[in-house]
């Protein structure tokens, strides 16, 4: 099995969930979101990774955006969750918990068998 490819696919699948989770606590502008995600090394994101994801989530109606003036430079585009996005996030988090539990249980079963 190509471990690197598996990690890449897993990471890609989880990026949407992480972006939505970050936006659920506070509205952010793109640059802040990049900095927040860079603090999570497991996601291995690069500068600019979030923008195509945000654009797709905007198109799907899960997030909305608003351009606001900034004291520190040009206007900034802020992103926030829509009610639909909040609903989708809740379902995604629920599904992720189920997957996480299933993986934990599969590992515990193996460990139990060995004891």
């Amino acid at each position: 099995m190509d471990l690197q490819n598996w990690q890449t696919q897993l990471r890609k699948g989880l990026l949407d969930l992480c972006v939505l989770n970050l936006l659920s606590s506070a509205e952010c502008y793109g640059y802040d979101l990049v900095q927040a995600m860079k603090r999570m090394p497991a996601l291995a994101i690069r500068e600019g990774t979030v923008y195509p994801i945000l654009a797709r989530l905007l198109e799907e109606g899960f997030v909305s955006s608003e351009v606001r003036p900034s004291d520190e430079g040009p206007p900034r585009k802020y992103y926030m969750l829509t009610p639909g996005g909040r609903q989708a996030l809740s379902a995604m988090n629920g599904h992720w918990e189920n997957v996480d539990n299933a993986v934990r249980r599969s590992r515990e079963d193996v460990t139990g068998g060995e004891q």
Binding site: G30, I45, R46, G48, K77
Partner: protein, 240 residues
């Protein structure tokens, strides 16, 4: 000799150009937004770098830290390449409904002022087709900024509509010719009025001119679309 700061604009343009080419292959309606966001992000990164640290190596490092263009396209459209001319009916209606209003208002006014006058010779179905074509081409132009779509719009929508007054004048000139050459001023009917050519030749020449312009515009549009499709196909990565 250029300073590193002078190279920055070129470096950004080169990176964004690569991203634009990668995004063109997935044809997502928000591609332009992604490019604008990436540009704004790079500007902010540049402004945060202290002026004395803006060496060529540092600026190259900033570009090197950006997401790979191909990955940007995959993150934007994970389901792969979208069809170039996929019709999104919701989007067509959203844009097209604004065009319907002025067209309907114009028809009402014209009919009220001059009931017998046919300023708009197209049927309701024909008019709806123009509106639909204009809306589809507008939506796809906005998403792709592909100049070939503008040429298609000129050939398929603008020329047939804007040449309508010309055809009306033509018909009136033909009527005048048939009624005895009074008030004929349009070339080549003036030649017919002077007896230098016969009336039939004048009619054939003017009609042929209209057809020629329409077909020439259509030919240019088809060539432009063909070139655009070939460029997109050349930019596709080779299959492994």
């Amino acid at each position: 000799m250029n300073t590193p700061n002078e190279y920055w604009g070129d470096m950004v343009a080169e990176y964004l150009g690569e991203v634009e080419r990668a995004l063109a292959r997935v044809n997502h309606p928000r591609s332009r937004e992604v490019l604008d966001d990436l540009r704004a992000h790079l500007e902010q990164r540049y402004n945060e770098t202290r002026p004395d640290e803006r060496t060529l190596e540092r600026l190259q490092e900033l570009i090197g830290q950006m997401e790979d263009p191909q990955a940007c396209a995959e993150l934007l459209a994970p389901d792969g390449r979208r069809r170039l001319f996929r019709i999104d009916l919701k989007r067509v209606w959203r844009v097209g409904r604004w065009a319907l209003l002025p067209v309907a208002a114009l028809l009402v006014v014209v009919t009220a002022v001059r009931p017998g006058l046919v300023l708009w010779p197209y049927s309701v179905a024909g008019s709806a087709l123009f509106v639909a074509m204009a809306a589809v081409l507008f939506v796809y132009y906005r998403a792709t900024r592909e100049a070939a779509l503008l040429w298609l719009a000129i050939a398929l929508v603008a020329w047939p509509i804007f040449s309508t007054p010309f055809h009306l004048v033509l018909e009136s000139q033909i009527d005048r010719l048939q009624a005895g050459f009074e008030g004929v001023w349009l070339w080549p009917f003036t030649l017919a009025a002077r007896g230098e050519i016969d009336m039939e030749t004048g009619i054939v020449v003017t009609r042929a001119l209209g057809y020629f312009i329409y077909r020439a515009l259509l030919l240019v549009a088809v060539v432009k679309v063909g070139r655009a499709l070939r460029a997109r196909s050349a930019a596709e990565p080779e299959p492994a």
